[in-house]
C-alpha cells in the first residue's frame, strides 16, 4: 500500500468521502512527515494542534453528510497570508510575532470548503526573491538534488516553502502568491504545478502587500487537477478588495481532460533567448509536439516588447513596495527599535527589521518615485506596461488561445550560487514569467521533463484574461504526455 501522503489531493479527497481514511489520520500522517522534514526548513510555523482540531471537525461534517469540496484535506499556507490567531511574518524580522486578528479572504475560502491548516510556509522576505534565500528564518532547501550530488539546491522563490512542501509530500497543496513569477518559478524548480490566475481572480485582502498592481494569489499542487480543485475554492469576488473581479468562478476541474483539438497555441519568438541552454530549447520543442499530437494548431507569434518587461518590472514593483512597506514603522505592529526621537525610531526600526533585498528594493522604489524622477522612471514604466499588454492583446485578437513558453531559463541552482555580487543576476530568473504579471494575465507552470542533472524543468502556458480553463486543459495534455519524473528519495527523513 502506498503511504497516505503519496496520494494526490483528488485521491485523498475521494478516500475521505468514501471513509477509507479519516481526516484526523490524514492530518496525523502529514504532521509526522513535516516533523521528519525539518531539514528542508519549509515551515516557519507548524500548527499541528490547529490541524488536528480542524480535522476532527471535518470528520464530524463528513459523518453528517455535510462535507465541503476540500473537506479534511490538509494544506500549507504561505506565511504571507494573514491567519487569525496564528503568527504571520512575511518571513521578515519586522513582523516577527505579529498575530493577526483576522483571516485573509483566500484562506478563509479554503476553511469554508473544509480544508485543514498544517502551518505557515517559508518564503522570501516580503515575497522578494527567486530562491527563498532572503527569508529572515533561513533558506528553504529543495527536496531535489542533482544526480550523484548532495549539494543543497534552492526550491525557487518567493513561494519556496510552498513548492518544497508540496514536492516533498508534506501537504496536499499549498497557497502561494505571484508578483513576478513567485508561483510559477518555484513550481518549475520542484516538479510541481503552479498557477497565477488573472489579476482580480483571487482576493488580495489579508495577504501582506508587496506590489499591489501585480500581486495575485494562487495554488501550488502536485497535479494539474489538484491545482484546478484548489483554485476553484480560492477564487471569487470579495467586496473587501476593490480590484477583485465580480465574475462567476468556473468549475476548473471540469476543464481538466477537456480536448484541445483545434486550439491555437502561439509560440513567441522573443522568448528564444541568446545563450538559452539546449535542454530548455528542446523541452520547449517537445511541448510543441505534445500539444500538436493532441490536435492543437501551432502558430509563430511576436510579442515585441517582451525584453522590456523585466526592467519595467524592476521599476513598478519596487515603487509599489516602497509605498506598501511604509506601514512598518514600529508604531502599530511588529518590531520597534527605540530612538532618540520619532524619526530616529522609524529609521532604526526599519534598518533592523528589513533584510538586504527588501532594503534595496525600498531604496530603488523611493528613488524612482522621488521628485524629478517620477516621469522618467515610473510613468515611463507604466506606459511600457501598456505596450506589453497590447502585444498579448494582438496575439489573442488574431485567434491565439494560449501561448507556450519555457517557465524558467534554467533548472534549480545551488544555495548561495546566485546574486551575491549583482542583484540583477537573481532577477533574470523571472525573465519568462514577469510579462504575465505586467499584463495581468493568467499563467500556469507544469512539469515537462528533467535537466541533464536530473532536475525538474517546467513549461509555461499563458492565457486570455479570466480564461484559466484553457490553461488547465492544455497543461493537462503536457502533464499526461511528459515522462513521469521519479521523486527524490527522502534524504531528509
Amino acid at each position: 500500500m502506498t503511504e497516505l501522503t503519496d496520494l494526490s489531493l483528488a485521491d485523498a479527497r475521494r478516500a475521505l468521502l468514501n471513509k477509507e481514511v479519516s481526516a484526523v489520520d490524514l492530518a496525523k500522517a502529514q504532521i509526522a512527515a513535516i516533523e521528519q522534514a525539518r531539514a528542508l526548513n519549509a515551515f516557519i510555523k507548524e500548527t499541528p494542534e490547529v490541524a488536528l482540531a480542524m480535522a476532527a471537525d471535518s470528520d464530524a461534517r463528513i459523518a453528517r453528510g455535510e462535507a465541503g469540496p476540500l473537506e479534511g484535506v490538509p494544506l500549507g499556507i504561505k506565511d504571507l497570508y494573514c491567519t487569525a490567531g496564528v503568527q504571520t511574518t512575511a518571513a521578515s524580522h519586522i513582523l516577527e510575532g505579529f498575530t493577526p486578528a483576522y483571516e485573509s479572504t483566500v484562506s478563509a475560502n479554503l476553511w469554508r470548503d473544509g480544508a485543514v491548516m498544517l502551518g505557515k510556509l517559508n518564503l522570501d522576505e516580503f515575497a522578494m526573491g527567486s530562491s527563498n534565500e532572503t527569508s529572515y528564518f533561513g533558506p528553504v532547501i529543495s527536496p531535489w538534488r542533482r544526480v550523484g550530488s548532495d549539494a543543497a539546491l534552492v526550491p525557487g522563490g518567493s513561494s519556496g516553502g510552498s513548492a518544497a512542501a508540496v514536492a516533498a509530500r508534506l501537504c496536499f497543496g499549498a497557497t502561494a502568491t505571484d508578483t513576478g513569477g513567485s508561483i510559477r518559478q518555484p513550481a518549475a524548480f520542484t516538479g510541481t504545478v503552479g498557477i497565477k490566475p488573472t489579476y482580480g481572480r483571487c482576493s488580495r485582502w489579508g495577504i501582506v502587500a508587496f506590489a499591489s498592481s501585480l500581486d495575485q494569489a494562487g495554488p501550488i499542487a502536485r497535479t494539474v487537477r489538484d491545482a484546478a480543485i484548489l483554485l476553484r475554492s480560492m477564487a471569487g469576488h470579495d467586496p473587501k478588495d476593490t480590484t477583485s473581479v465580480d465574475l462567476p468562478v468556473p468549475d476548473y476541474e471540469a476543464a481538466v481532460g477537456r480536448s484541445i483539438k483545434g486550439m491555437k497555441i502561439g509560440i513567441p519568438k522573443e522568448y528564444r533567448l541568446d545563450g538559452m541552454p539546449a535542454e530548455i530549447e528542446s523541452l520547449w520543442s517537445q511541448g510543441v509536439e505534445w500539444l500538436k499530437a493532441a490536435g492543437a494548431t501551432i502558430v509563430d507569434i511576436s510579442l515585441p516588447h517582451t525584453r522590456y518587461a523585466l526592467p519595467a518590472y524592476y521599476i513598478v514593483a519596487p515603487a509599489e513596495a516602497s509605498s506598501n512597506l511604509a506601514r512598518y514603522d514600529g508604531v502599530r505592529f511588529g518590531l520597534r527599535v527605540p530612538g532618540k526621537d520619532i524619526a530616529d525610531m522609524y529609521e532604526s526600526t526599519r534598518a533592523a527589521g528589513f533584510g538586504k533585498e527588501v532594503r534595496r528594493r525600498i531604496l530603488i522604489g523611493t528613488y524612482v518615485l522621488s521628485a524629478g524622477y517620477y516621469d522618467a522612471y515610473y510613468v515611463r514604466a507604466q506606459k511600457i506596461r501598456t505596450l506589453i499588454k497590447g502585444d498579448f492583446e494582438s496575439a489573442f485578437a488574431a485567434g491565439v488561445d494560449a501561448i507556450l513558453t519555457p517557465a524558467t531559463p534554467s533548472a534549480a541552482f545551488g544555495v548561495g550560487e546566485k546574486g551575491s555580487a549583482d542583484p540583477v543576476e537573481m532577477y533574470l530568473n523571472d525573465i519568462f514569467t514577469v510579462t504575465v504579471n505586467m499584463a495581468g494575465l493568467p499563467g500556469i507552470a507544469v512539469p515537462a521533463g528533467t535537466s541533464s542533472e536530473g532536475l525538474p524543468l517546467g513549461l509555461q502556458l499563458i492565457g486570455r484574461a479570466f480564461d484559466e480553463e484553457t490553461l488547465f486543459a492544455a497543461a493537462e495534455v503536457i502533464e499526461q504526455s511528459a515522462p513521469k519524473v521519479s521523486l527524490p528519495a527522502r534524504w531528509w527523513a
Binding site: 489579476y199 534598518a351 530603488i364 501598456t386 542583484p423
Partner: protein
C-alpha cells in the same frame, strides 16, 4: 542615470531606513547595477501611449458611505509594541 553617495544617503532618509556609512559604497553599487539594468527603457518610444493604471479594465467599485466595521480597539492595538489605554505610544513629537 546613476546615483552618487549623497543621493544614497538622501533616499535612505526619505525611505526612513538608517544606513551605516560603511554600507553606502556597496549600496551605491547595487542601486547603480539596477539603474543600469533599467536604462534600456529610455530607448522605447512611448509617444502617445497611456500609462497603465489598472491591470484589468474594470470600473472602480463604490460602496455606500456608511460605517460597516469598528468597535474593536482591543484587536487593533493587540500587536502594538507600546500601548496605553487603546492609544499607540510613540516618542515625544511636540516639545
Amino acid at each position: 542615470m546613476s546615483v552618487d553617495q549623497a543621493t544614497v544617503r538622501r533616499i535612505a532618509h526619505l525611505a526612513r531606513i538608517k544606513v551605516n556609512e560603511d554600507d553606502v559604497p556597496h549600496l551605491q553599487g547595487e542601486l547603480n547595477a539596477i539603474l543600469a539594468f533599467v536604462e534600456e527603457l529610455a530607448s522605447v518610444n512611448v509617444e502617445g501611449v497611456e500609462p497603465m493604471t489598472s491591470a484589468m479594465p474594470v470600473p472602480m467599485k463604490k460602496r455606500a458611505d456608511i460605517v460597516t466595521d469598528g468597535d474593536m480597539a482591543d484587536a487593533i492595538v493587540a500587536n502594538a509594541p507600546a500601548v496605553e489605554d487603546h492609544f499607540f505610544v510613540v516618542p515625544k513629537v511636540v516639545e
